[in-house]
Point group: C2
Chain length 643, copies 2
């Protein structure tokens, strides 16, 4: 039983740090931090179990501060519990400090980046599911099963603001968490009534919050978020593992503890000026800066491990060793859709890497992840038609050491651009598969065509974009994605296309590589293409050859990073004439990637063929012709260029 | 009271058309269409009021088929009610027909494009709010008020699938619709249990649907979606205007009417092969192809008008005539943030254009739309932190003839990329404002910085991107956006920057234009910049001048379309050396737009300065320096280029 008086003193200390940090730097979200002080302190001093000296301890509970703007609270809290020093706090929001305006993994206790609201609950769900999966994980590393005996389930906590409950992504996490009975997940809502610019959608109507949360299948409890005794009772009596995730709905006051800020609009993101700061500190009363709270250590017996550890690397190296692509069953000229090859490759990969998990948004019969589901049902997650949450869940799983492959139609990944963007700042090890790229999907029409996906993923920090032209290359791309850290995007097509590579050729493919597939000493220009347009480019080249016009063809399967060296060499050997062909809009795709290679060359001319007319419904080949990116369009363009 | 027997015959006819269309073309979503036949027929024959000869009749009810993949139902339905001919149906999914795989405005009865699930309800909400706003709209066009007397509120219907209820955007629309008491909005859920690849999140658990919908403040009713008598009773007794939006939760069978399809998984998006089609038709029984249903006409007295009519154009021409920018209060060298100028300009615009509405996602004190809210509260919509729904609502309002300006931090528009993408296919007249662009926001850090927004908007069909460098230019951009149809994106910055243009200069700014702000006969190269980096470029140019190095500076305020002519002239006059500077990632931004201008030039060298290092928290100027896009970075780069 925690000492309430000590908690009051700790709360006072945390408030003091919050006010001091924000006033010092002259920015930061003071009042959003003050409302959650009792919630945080009561949790840290009672139920939360964490080894502050070893954040990587697999037995640790996890906590995500989804209301990332309350970063002053986060840092003040860890300081009050000896995770940070007062000196650390002085760096807050300065350019060389890891204590940024919104927490991200530069801060040692942040597993992920937060600051775009409504994403924390989905990430927490991913962590909770990963923790539940660990002891069950299938695979060849028998020592892995061994080391996960006497497994005790850590709890994942997510502190949210009330404003972010307007985000649909929160309700996606809600519905999926209850579907999967993620009962080691506890959400905490700081209902302080005020958003940035006024009252929130529901204000202090905590009963409506409760009704909505319960309707979504969660256990909900309402509490006074400033009543330390009530909070301690709640945390000490609260049991997880009852089949339902839990939400604590805490009625609080924004700016609590500083009368000039309490429940006053217009102070969001504004620190106190120096003179008001001094008044506020007086109001706080006696602050004991030598006081420190204590977070209980987790269960020592818990042995399963996370990304940073040997399991992860051993399974990775396992997948490195296994000659994975050798197993590819497709023969030259056999017709297979790259989206189908993806599902089949992923299923084979799962065998050698027990940390690979597959997520899909109700299109598993289109992305062919259903074969993964058939063979490894425990590692397959049907995420339903809720792409934002699917991505956040994957980020959470990756933070726990798994290697999530997230699949849906490429176009519907645009639904989760903000989550993918934040995944970049989380340095998440998530692999994305986008199927049904481009107009080559045919009759379903524009709404289902990925025509902006490459542009989107090119803007993601440290992303790699791979676009295989055949089934064999697809297997290699899946292996490259699983072997290398970071965000990968693999783009695949709907129609069946002929196999053009042997597995020995594909094994040579690398990140930042390309493949010269047609070449002669008399090539008049270079065609750069990938995916379905590479097949068209080869047809064009063979047609032109009959007309005694030789052209070089490069498969730029690594769109990001792109193979500058090979492209430069080819251009210099083919009259400085380059033509790019892509089943994507002209903006931000392969063509622009190639343009950047020659930006400062001052000689090379680049001609872009892309989807320049608004697409419509029609037969795949009709549409490729209509957009002038088929072999016919390529030939016409080349003859025009060569005059 | 409708004749049930006739409805049964109509249902049979609609089913016949559905089967015939999809089997003929060999693609399409047959079974998703069959489950909603009774829902659609009963509505069209009873409550729905629509002038099929004049889809633009302002008194029409509206209907959005959010489950756009059920397009066979849509076209079959309009054929059975004389809106289409049997010949029209033969064009389904063929390249020259407006009857595409998923409906879009090429089809005369589709106000918007659907096909990306979960967006229809938000669009319907926008239409419902627009209909409620019409008689209230403030403004100078007194005849407008006049013509909106004796106003009777049309109803907006949205037919949804059950699978799309997993999308968070649906729950965003739910919470906002009940907040605004949009009681002229009726949602219909076709709960046919099966998604594309298996059972949906809730299957046939209609009671849980009811609980969730009611918790979100809607009136909900559960019904057997195939019981025509019950449906007719429901539609004839259902009253709108009771203070709550209504959801009809219909339990249905996927593939209803064709035994081999009924409630069978694996047929999603698959038509019947010819031989099965013949069996199915036998099973349907006698089909009377001469039978036609009748949709009741709307109230003739309703006079208020929509986009296609005189009001809209007259208010547009009004805003054209008014010398709007002349009213700008800022003086040269005065410091003002472009985001603030946006809010102030919009408020002045609202006075001359009564159809301008303002939407904001709880950042109205950052985008300064709060001044609009103060002056025109009835035309201001607080959309809370739910960006996806905010965009869908704007699309619905635009379809009703309003001119929505949608404002939030530029970075959070990425949350709605899929909605913005679909807005492009809807040819929506929506204007987007993205504030807090780039690293110049400072301490809040990467999660709040728009660094991918230009890349995103450049990929939107027919979009225009304007990026003003000062407050005066911002006013002009707002006017250009209001005067011209289509999707506009205006990018603004957080910090206050000096006014550099007079209103007479700004009045010359045009879509596809640019402004040469520094020029001499001895310029050694050309700097292309916009927004905050233009100010840095000017500082750099003035510094260099002191060093006797003259450079040309171009304000490329129109990023899309970009001013090719001026850029080509400048390059040719400045040694073919061009340097671009942008507070945006290197991918897909200003630099790439400029690269495309010179792609086939074969002489010009383009050097790109952009945000190339992962950004962090810090002072705005520190971060501009850190990313080497400040005057210092520009000078260093130029001296390096010039050797």
């Amino acid at each position: 039983m925690a000492d309430i008086e000590k908690l009051e003193k700790l709360a006072r200390l945390v408030r003091f740090y919050i006010l001091e940090m924000t006033t010092r730097v002259g920015s930061g979200h003071t009042n959003s931090s003050l409302s959650a002080v009792e919630l945080a302190v009561s949790l840290f001093s009672t139920k939360f179990r964490f080894d502050l000296k070893n954040p990587e301890n697999p037995a640790n509970d996890r906590i995500i501060f989804s209301k990332g703007h309350a970063s002053p609270l986060v840092y003040a809290l860890y300081a009050a519990y000896s995770g940070l020093t007062e000196k650390d706090l002085t760096g807050y929001r300065t350019i060389n400090s890891p204590l940024e305006g919104h927490p991200n993994p530069r801060f040692k206790y942040a597993d992920v980046a937060t600051g775009s609201l409504g994403q924390g609950l989905g990430i927490g769900l991913g962590m909770a599911l990963a923790l539940r999966l660990a002891p069950l994980t299938q695979g060849k590393l028998s020592d892995y099963q061994l080391r996960t005996t006497n497994y005790e389930l850590p709890t994942v906590y997510v502190l949210m603001g009330d404003g972010e409950f307007a985000e649909g992504s929160v309700w996606e996490a809600m519905e999926v968490a209850s579907y999967y009975k993620a009962d080691n997940l506890i959400g905490i809502v700081d209902v302080n009534r005020l958003g940035q610019s006024g009252e929130t959608l529901l204000g202090w109507d905590v009963e409506t919050y409760k009704k909505r949360v319960e309707a979504f299948g969660w256990q909900a409890m309402v509490i006074d978020g400033h009543d330390l005794k009530a909070l301690v009772d709640l945390w000490t009596s609260l049991e997880t593992g009852k089949g339902k995730p839990v939400i604590v709905i805490a009625k609080t006051v924004k700016g609590k503890g500083v009368s000039m800020l309490e429940d006053v609009n217009g102070w969001h993101g504004r620190p106190l000026p120096q003179e008001d700061f001094e008044k506020a500190v007086k109001e706080l009363g006696n602050v004991d800066k030598s006081l420190r709270g204590k977070v209980a250590l987790p269960d020592k017996n818990m042995k399963f491990s996370t990304r940073s550890n040997s399991i992860y690397s051993s399974s990775l190296s396992a997948s490195l060793k296994v000659n994975f692509v050798e197993k590819v069953p497709y023969k030259i000229n056999e017709e297979i859709a790259t989206r189908k090859a993806y599902g089949e490759a992923l299923t084979v990969l799962a065998e050698v890497n027990p940390l690979v998990v597959s997520l899909d948004a109700d299109v598993k019969n289109s992305t062919y992840t259903e074969s993964f589901n058939d063979k490894y049902p425990k590692r397959f997650y049907e995420m339903f038609i809720a792409e934002q949450n699917m991505v956040s869940v994957a980020v959470g799983m990756a933070a726990m050491g798994y290697v999530p492959f997230v699949a849906t139609f490429g176009v519907f990944l645009t639904r989760a651009f903000d989550q993918i963007r934040m995944a970049g700042y989380s340095r998440a090890n998530v692999k994305f598969l986008g199927s049904h790229a481009g107009v080559s999907i045919g009759e379903d029409g524009p709404s289902q065509m990925a025509l902006q996906d490459i542009a989107m993923f090119r803007t993601i920090d440290g992303s790699t974009i791979l676009y295989p032209a055949d089934g064999v290359a697809t297997w290699r791309m899946v292996q490259l994605a699983s072997k290398n850290e970071g965000i990968f995007y693999i783009r695949t097509n709907r129609p069946a296309t002929p196999v053009i590579y042997t597995y020995k050729e594909a094994e040579q493919f690398k990140i930042g590589g390309s493949k010269v597939v047609r070449s002669s000493s008399t090539d008049k220009l270079t065609i750069v293409a990938c995916g379905v347009t590479l097949i068209e480019a080869l047809r064009a080249a063979d047609e032109l050859k009959k007309k005694k016009v030789n052209v070089r063809v490069i498969d730029a399967y690594s769109v990001k990073p792109i193979d500058e060296k090979t492209l430069r060499k080819a251009a210099s050997e083919t009259n400085n004439l380059v033509i790019t062909v892509e089943d994507h809009y002209p903006e931000g795709g392969l063509g622009d990637a190639v343009l950047n290679v020659f930006a400062q060359d001052g000689q090379v001319k680049v001609f872009k063929l892309a989807v320049a007319k608004m697409p419509k419904s029609g037969k795949p080949q009709e549409l490729l012709d209509y957009e002038e990116i088929s072999s016919r369009g390529i030939i016409d363009k080349i003859l025009q260029i060569l005059g």
